[in-house]
């Protein structure tokens, strides 16, 4: 080899190593690496069955098992446009670089997945590969579903194929260059898809392992609650530390005592997951409200307990922008407490006070109580502004409960004013939202 060639070769080698190292650094640990115990293949795990359906459904038909798992994986919320047929796709995901539409996953042969073989379906769900070979964008959380067993994925397929096929073609994506280059997802996927099935951890309890399977493979909590890295993949160094998703803030669900779930009681966690509300912690709305209504509320009680056991084990990561404690109840009189934002106060008096009260404790329903919620204690007021814009409708065992959407009734300026008033009155530190911030938040909301 000539001297020149040798130099060239070393440059190439160094380049490749550096790129590999860079990718490896960005990629960071996998979602379950924090546990650190000995992992065994599922087939070699004898302490229990972390995968599949809960005991009461063990003998149920394939379709029924698939239904439970499809709900646990929360397929429907993303694959259904409000008002349209279940699983017929078309829901818009507004991203900074364009809009993605979810696909029709009913068994329609032309517009859905009716022609998918079992292997095609596994390829899509676990590897992010479409039947025609094209790559899926990671808005489809296949980097989580990849942990599902083949058996569970195929049960979901059986369930989807048992439902009526719906003819519905989703609009074309409007991504800009370079994000419209699907082939680039081959590289993304090679770096960021762990592409491995769930492996139980023998140092942990069977309950923990079940919770890990449910939370990571199915419920894909991290897709909203874990911050993303430079490559838009989950940064598990800050696992469950909270992030903004679809314009809403998914709060810290690590075991941090002050800003995570560390000081929540088991009872409150169970209640929040299964009903979408826990006394003193507020109610789920936005994307989490949907997750509760369509997914967590359908979980077997023992599965909810397993998720709680698992969440408890996730290392604490603080959210430095949140206060150490949430604010106490506000004074009952409108005159006491914060009076700064006169415009915000006027709006609050007219549109909000009758349900939320001047103290923040709702005279109507504990679900509408503001005191103690992270939303009003978040100095960025993200979720306060979002819920004012789009409202909420929750289905609880006691019936539906809703807040109207004020997005069309109030200007960005008014929404900023009321959000700033609400966070100042009921939270620890008032927000400083401007009309521009509100306009920005409107853009991010999924439609």
């Amino acid at each position: 080899m000539s001297g020149k060639m040798r130099i060239l070769t070393s440059v190439v080698v160094i380049g490749v190593v550096a790129a590999g190292l860079g990718a490896w650094i960005i990629r960071g640990p996998g979602p379950l690496d924090f546990a650190g115990g000995t992992k065994v293949a599922l087939a070699d795990y004898r302490a229990g069955k972390p995968t599949g359906v809960p005991a009461k459904l063990e003998k149920a038909s394939l379709v029924e098992r698939g239904e439970y798992l499809a709900k646990a994986a929360d397929c429907m919320v993303c694959h259904t446009q409000p008002g349209e047929k279940d699983y017929s796709g078309g829901l818009a995901f507004k991203l900074p670089f364009g809009t993605l539409y979810s696909t029709n996953i009913t068994a329609d042969k032309d517009t859905g997945i009716g022609n998918y073989s079992d292997q095609d379906f596994l390829n899509a769900v676990q590897h992010g590969k479409r039947r025609d070979g094209a790559r899926l964008y990671p808005a489809m959380p296949y980097t989580s579903y990849t942990f599902m067993t083949d058996e569970d994925v195929l049960a979901v397929k059986a369930y989807l194929f048992s439902l009526p096929a719906v003819r519905a073609k989703a609009p074309d994506n409007t991504l800009s260059f370079p994000f419209n280059q699907r082939w680039a997802m081959i590289v993304w996927s090679a770096v960021f898809n762990p592409d491995t099935r769930f492996a139980p951890d023998t140092s942990k309890s069977p309950e923990w392992n079940r919770g890990a399977y449910l939370a990571e493979a199915l419920a894909h909590c991290g897709e909203c609650h874990t911050p993303r890295n430079l490559g838009f993949a989950l940064d598990n160094r800050r696992k469950f530390a909270g992030a903004i998703t679809a314009g809403w803030r998914a709060f810290n669900i690590s075991s941090d005592k002050a800003t995570g779930l560390g000081s929540w009681s088991d009872q409150n966690l169970i209640s929040y997951l299964s009903l979408g509300h826990a006394p003193g912690h507020g109610s789920a709305s936005g994307p989490m409200g949907e997750a509760v209504d369509h997914s967590f509320s359908q979980f077997a009680p023992e599965d909810i307990r397993s998720i709680v056991a698992y969440l408890r084990s996730v290392p604490p990561v603080p959210s430095p922008d949140l206060p150490a404690t949430t604010a106490p109840i506000a004074p009952a009189s409108h005159k006491e407490g914060v009076t700064a934002d006169a415009r915000g106060k006027m709006l609050f008096a007219g549109a909000c006070a009758s349900c939320h009260g001047w103290s923040g404790e709702s005279p109507v329903s504990p679900m509408a109580t503001l005191t103690g919620t992270w939303a009003v204690n978040d100095p960025a007021a993200t979720n306060v502004a979002q819920i004012v814009i789009s409202g909420t409708k929750r289905h609880t065992p006691d019936g539906a409960l809703s807040m109207p959407a004020f997005g069309n009734a109030y200007t960005d300026d008014e929404i900023a004013a009321v959000a700033n008033y609400v966070t100042a009155r009921f939270g620890t530190k008032g927000s400083k939202l401007t009309a521009k911030d509100v306009a920005e938040l409107r853009k991010q909301t999924a439609e």
């Binding site: 008096a349 549109a351 006070a353 009758s354 349900c355 109507v364 006691d398 019936g399 809703s402 109207p404």
Partner: protein, 156 residues
């Protein structure tokens, strides 16, 4: 799913079957035939349906009946027998507040709850308590005046 509901309304005990999530307003109007309380928006944005629960003004259109069991409900039919309600009704007549009347049950209930808690309200108290009660006829000026009259017990 229906359940047996027992409520104390206007000093009387009423029992009936209703779904637990039925809004109190529907139970009042459709089951108990008490149509003095009005339906405007159904989403707590107009105040027409205001009643008192344990003396506080609450929008009955969003309040599930199951939430008021064991609590005391007062409606427009009976508010005249409370001291604040009597004063408000008198002042309302003297100031000729009412135009079409549709919003007025709610206005009177909100004003009576305000005066019971704050006997001498200033303008900001009136704003804070009454801003959520909409009047499509625009009687706001007379409402404010009547509340002040009721508070002072005099004609201005």
């Amino acid at each position: 799913m229906h359940m047996a509901i027992v409520l104390t309304i206007n000093g009387e005990t009423k029992s009936f079957d209703a779904p637990p999530d039925m809004p109190l307003l529907w139970a009042l109007r459709d089951i108990l035939g008490m149509t003095g309380t009005k339906f405007g928006c159904g989403i707590a944005q107009c105040g027409a349906c205001t009643v008192h629960v344990d003396g506080k003004a609450v929008r009955s259109c969003v309040l599930p009946v199951s939430a008021v069991a064991n609590r005391t409900v007062t409606t427009i039919e009976h508010v005249g027998s409370t001291p604040a309600g009597a004063k408000v009704q008198k002042a309302w007549l003297e100031a000729e507040v009412i135009q079409c009347g549709y919003c007025q049950s709610g206005q009177i209930m909100a004003a009576a709850a305000l005066l019971a808690a704050t006997p001498n309200p200033d303008d900001s108290d009136i704003d804070a308590a009454m801003a959520g009660n909409i009047c499509r006829c625009g009687t706001y000026v007379r409402i404010r005046e009547a509340i002040k009259q009721a508070a002072n017990g005099r004609q201005s």
